[in-house]
Structure formats: C-alpha cells, structure tokens
C-alpha cells in the first residue's frame, strides 16, 4: 500500500502563485523516490503538503489510503510516521544543544524521559554525530548541522523520511558521504528527496517524478524518465549524455541505458575493440593475444594464431579487434569491517598487493576515519572497485558483513557476460576462509 499519496493536488499561495497544478504522486513503501525539478517547480510546496503544513486549495492528500484530515490528532499521527528534513538546517535547529534539539520530537510524542533519551542516543548514532551531543548548533559546520537536523527527525522514528534538497550546500566529499548515509537509511525506511541534482537522482532513486511548473511531467524508473528531463529545464544525467554521444558515433553498444559509470564503460568495452600497447612491431592483420596489466592492455604476437587481430597501428600502440574475452587479472577483495584489525589489515594489504582501498556505507566510513585509512576510491565505491579490477588492479572494499550477500549479487549482475575479475571475501581479519 502507498503510505502517502496525493490526488490532483492544487495549491495557490496567498499572493496568487499557482505552485501546484494537479499533482498526483504516491510514495511506495521501502523505496527511494526522487522528485526532480528546477527551482520553483513546486517540490518544496508538495513536500509541505506531505506533512500537512500546507493545505491543498483543491485535491487531496491520502495517508495510508485515507483522506488526510487537518485536526490535531490526525496531523500528529501523520507527523509521527512522516518526518521532514528542511533544506536549511538553521531553520530547523532551535535548542541550545544538539542533544536537546534531537529530544524535541520524541518529547512532543509524549514519551517517557528514559525512552526519549534512548531515542536521542540512537538517532545521534545513526547520524554519526554522537560526539556533538552537547555542542550548541551555532558552533557546527553546515554539514554537521544537516546531520543534526536529520537526527532530530530520525529520533521520532518515522516510516517515511522526506528531505528537501539534502545535498544543497555540501562540498563533493560531503555529498558522497551524505549519499552513503541516505543509502544506509533507505535500507530501513522509505525515503523521498526533492532535488535538482539530476546525476544524484539518476543513480540513487528507484522511482522518479519530474516536476515542472507545478505539474508532474514525467514519472517512472530513472532510465525511463531521464531522457525527457530537458523539458523541465534540467540537464540529462552526465552518464546518459556521455553514453548517447558515444552511441551516436558508433562507439558504444546501442540500446543500453547505463545507470552509472561502470555500465557506461562496459557499453564501450563490450564492443570488442581495444587500443593496446605493443612492445614488438606488429602489422595490420596480425594475430595477437591481449594481456591486462595494471592500468593498460598489452598486445603480444600470438604464435597459435589467437582470435584477436590488429586492425590499425598507432604511434603508441595498436588498435585490436578483441574477439572473446581478455583473461582477467584484477581482483576485488571484500573485507568485512567487523573483523577489522589494524595490524592484520596492513598485512592483508601487503599480502594481496592491494592497489586501491574503498569503503561502502557509513559504518565502514566511520572505521576508515577512526583508523586513519587513506581511501583511494570515494563515492560509488563498488562500481569504482570493479572498474579498477577490470583494469587489472587489486581493489579492497571495506564493507559491513550484513551487506556482503547483497553486494556479491550486485557484482554478479554487473559482470554477467564478461570475463569477471575474481571476487574474494576475506575473513578473520584478513585470513581468507
């Protein structure tokens, strides 16, 4: 069932601006939903309807299938289930300390002091800001304030979390961290975000509504709708744009819609044409064998008459039609953070000749920060690890035990139909079982 739904929602601000003009949307449970649109498209206005702050001029909001009423009891039960994080954390934080601000919501739900305290502690932990508990809000950075604002809503333990422009004002590293954090949250909750960051929405969301001038102009899975976002004064996702440019020139497999950088690269690599470096002089038409080496591909003359042939010679190497797969050499190691041991970790890095380290999820990130591990790959960690592995490197991914199964499944689906690099799960502080 849809926890929240709107039907033909219309809203006119007192100054006459028609902010919403017949919006019908639904928030399905356990989904990551993105509302994209340019400034003034009506995203924030719609969100304020979700939590009953604004009342529609026409149309209705449905909460658990029933028309939302605007008496105190109904609103309170709505706000117990749906939490909203505002764009500007300074608008939301009002208490003298972080912990007190976070306790505000649970207090309003009429909970006992003990329960309030437990919830505050949990919320601060999830948001990764336990150490800020006694700080006054004005001494925090913008990113920290955002986390406090989220903790304040999480402490009410809503089923649905809606966030208005959650990435606005964050630097690239802050954004990457925040997306990780949202992904972790999305495992437990329905999350809806309003954003004009198309790249983020495209890679992150399960379902997308495109809003323009108070109307839904497109909806569906990211791949379905993002071709049309230009209609809403937005640019298409860069991955998609880049893919199209390549496909139109015949440089990528047609008919794929890559949803991230990894799939984009696969769409090009699977064409079977490679530029390889050659140590010996090779002639056009000569049979060669290809070898992956860290960061490059080598072509060697093949006596057995391999199926790859030189199409063209270049100054720096040769263009080869690569029939069949190039034997993979790279590896991805999954390192469960529960088994982390600083000494064993260093040994593991040396023993497996790890070139790149990445982390998946907020928990792994916390470990990385605590232990001062230097990350070589940040953001979209899994995809980046796989790319490096395809290129012959050894990449190690720090990952919570609970996510291994799902990640392995994801890797399989990514790598189906190509010579997959080896995936190894390390156990017991680096000694594989």
């Amino acid at each position: 069932m849809n926890i929240l739904e709107t039907r033909e929602l219309e809203y006119q601000y007192p100054d006459g601006t028609r902010a919403l003009r017949g919006v019908s949307v639904a928030l399905r449970t356990n989904n990551k939903i993105a509302f994209v649109g340019s400034n003034g498209a009506g995203k924030s206005t719609l969100f304020l309807h979700f939590i009953g702050i604004l009342r529609p001029s026409r149309g209705e909001v449905l909460f658990r299938g029933k028309t939302l009423r605007y008496d105190k009891a109904s609103l309170l039960s709505l706000r117990r289930s749906v939490g909203m994080v505002f764009q500007n954390p300074d608008d939301q934080l009002f208490a003298p300390t972080v912990a007190q601000d976070v306790s505000f919501g649970p207090k309003n739900l009429g909970m006992s002091e003990a329960e309030v305290e437990a919830r505050v502690r949990r919320a601060l932990k999830i948001a990764g800001i336990e150490e800020l508990a006694d700080k006054p809000p004005h001494l925090l950075s913008y990113g920290q304030k955002k986390r406090v604002a989220i903790a304040g809503v999480l402490a009410m333990e809503p089923e649905v979390l809606i966030l208005d422009e959650p990435l606005a004002g964050l630097d690239p590293a802050g954004k990457r961290r925040f997306i990780e954090f949202l992904n972790d949250l999305a495992k437990r909750k329905t999350i809806a975000v309003a954003t004009h960051d198309v790249d983020f929405a495209y890679e992150w969301a399960d379902y997308v509504y495109v809003l323009h001038r108070g109307k839904v102009v497109a909806e569906g899975e990211p791949k379905e709708v993002f071709q049309e976002v230009t209609r809403a004064n937005l640019s298409p996702p860069r991955v998609l744009e880049f893919y199209e440019a390549l496909a139109e020139l015949g440089l990528a497999t047609p008919g794929i819609q890559p949803s991230n950088m990894f799939e984009l690269v696969r769409s090009v690599a699977s064409l079977g044409v490679r530029v390889a470096l050659a140590e010996d002089t090779l002639k056009e038409g000569e049979a060669v064998s290809l070898e992956v080496e860290k960061g490059r591909i080598l072509a060697k003359p093949s006596r057995e008459g391999g199926s790859s042939r030189v199409i063209k010679t270049l100054d720096a190497g040769v263009v080869v039609s690569a029939n069949g797969n190039i034997p993979p050499k790279g590896k991805v190691y999954l390192y469960p953070i529960e088994n982390f041991d600083a000494l064993a970790f260093q040994e593991t890095l040396a023993k497996h000749e790890v070139d790149f380290v990445a982390s998946l999820g907020s928990e792994a990130r916390l470990l990385v920060e605590r232990e001062g591990i230097e990350l070589a790959l940040e953001g979209a960690a899994l995809e980046r690890c796989l790319l490096k592995a395809l290129a012959g490197y050894h990449a190690l991914l720090l990952i919570p035990q609970s996510q291994i199964e799902e990640t392995v499944k994801k890797i399989r689906s990514y790598l189906s139909g190509c010579a997959a690099p080896e995936i190894e799960i390390l156990r017991d502080g680096g000694n594989e079982a």
């Binding site: 939590i51 309170l76 909203m84 505002f86 003298p96 006694d134 006054p136 809000p137």
Partner: protein, 263 residues
C-alpha cells in the same frame, strides 16, 4: 577562533562547570542585586574581587583571557571616572581646570558618584563573566526552568540565543554584499546602506520565523518547546547553604557600608 568558541569551551571544561547551574545563577544574581542597590562602592569592589578570584583561582580561567575580557567594561569605566566629577556641579570643589574661556570644576560628590558607578560596572561585569565562563548556555536555561522562571520567558531567551547567531550570520553576509558594491564608500551612502540592511534583516527574520515554525510543526510542536535536560548537575545542601550565606553576607556588607565614601 571566534570569541563564542572560547567562552563556550571554558564553560564546558572549566573547573566549576560541574557545579549546579542554579547555584551559580543564584550567586551571580544576588551579587548583581547587591551591586545595583549598594550606595557605597565598598560592596561592589568586594564583589568584583571575589568574582575575579573565583574565576581565576577556582575556575582556572587564564589571567590573559580574563584581563582581555575585562578591557571592554574597563575602557568604558575609565573615561567615566575621569569626566564624571566635572559634571556634578554642586559640592566641595577638588580640582579646577581652565580650558579656553571655560572653567571646569571637579567636585568631591562627583568623584564619589563616579567611583560608585565604576565599581558597579566592574562588579556587574565580573558577575556576568562568572556565569559566562563557568556555565554552558544550555545549563543556564535548564537552571532558569528549575528556578520556576515562567516557561514563556525561558523559551524566548532560548530562541533569542539560538537565532541571534543566525541573525548575525545573515547580517554579516548582507554587509559583505553591500561593501563589495561600495555601499559604505561615503558617509551618506553608509547611512542609506545601513538603513537598507536593517529593514532587510527585519523582513528576512520574519520569513525565517515562518520557516522555523513550519519545521517545529513538522516535529509535532504543540505549543511548548519541550526537550530533555541531559546530565544536569544536582543541587546539594552544602553548596546551597554556602551560596545563601554568602549572598546574605553581601547584603549585610552593602547595608553596613551604605554611608561609607571613598574620598
């Protein structure tokens, strides 16, 4: 580092930070009241010395920091002490200064009045610094609540404290935006720009308050700003007795010395 960082960090980590905030408020409050009602500079001077000793020796605030903080009220006090004797005309003349065609006469009454004022300023400042340096703001609000100060007043104080910083940030941004477009290039322009800044700040505050109210509502606000007080220091009997006795002594000192003049 900003001054608010410095103050807040002493308030959190100073040696008196674990003392119940009610006691500290009570102490500073009674000292302030005594200062205001005292008719002789003796009690205020005693309060100034006592508070300074408490801050430097008990709370462990570095001399340098405390002296730097004191320069603000001191710089206001000094000219007052020097000039005020000349402004109270009636009384026993102490000093006559001839400047151009005017004659200025300093009187004994004037000097006494100036010394009283200066001692009050210093005592009042020291009492306030005592609170600021030893008590985190959150604890002050908690103490106000537990001392049964009306909730509306405490809530107002909290909101003012929180949004003051938001307002300052906003004002700083606007000021910069005006400066880079030469808003303060001439005397005249500065007046116009400042008026614009003030009125704009007012409008923005209003908008901000609407957003803040929506955010409160979204978290189930029902008319009271309620939240937990975490880890509040408990009142103990000996501390309460000590502070009460000290307050009584201050009042007694002020009463006994009520007619005492320094010069």
């Amino acid at each position: 580092m900003h001054i608010e960082h410095v103050l807040e960090s002493y308030a959190h980590s100073g040696r008196l930070s674990s003392v119940a905030p009610q006691l500290k408020l009570l102490l500073a409050g009674s000292a302030l009241v005594t200062t205001v009602f005292s008719t002789s500079p003796v009690a205020p001077i005693f309060i100034f010395l006592a508070m300074s000793t408490a801050l430097l020796l008990l709370a462990g605030i570095p001399h340098r920091v405390y002296l730097a903080t004191l320069t603000a009220p001191a710089s206001f006090t000094l000219p007052v002490v020097l000039l005020m004797p000349f402004f109270i005309a009636s009384g026993e003349p102490l000093l006559t200064v001839k400047l151009f065609s005017h004659t200025f006469v300093a009187t004994r009454e004037g000097l006494n009045e100036a010394l009283l004022l200066a001692s009050r300023v210093l005592a009042g400042s020291a009492s306030l610094f005592f609170i600021i340096f030893t008590t985190p703001t959150a604890a002050i609000f908690a103490a106000m609540r537990s001392l049964r100060i009306p909730a509306l007043f405490v809530e107002m104080c909290m909101l003012i404290y929180r949004f003051l910083f938001v307002l300052i940030d906003e004002a700083e941004r606007m000021l910069k935006a005006q400066k880079i477009r030469l808003g303060y290039a001439s005397y005249r322009r500065s007046f116009d720009s400042f008026a614009l800044l003030a009125s704009n700040l007012f409008l923005r505050s209003y908008l901000r308050s609407e957003h803040a109210f929506a955010a409160l509502e979204a978290r189930g606000y029902r008319g009271n700003l309620e939240f937990s007080e975490f880890g509040r220091a408990r009142l103990n009997l000996s501390g309460t007795l000590l502070v009460t006795t000290f307050s009584a002594l201050l009042a007694a000192l002020a009463y006994v010395t009520r007619n005492l003049e320094l010069v």
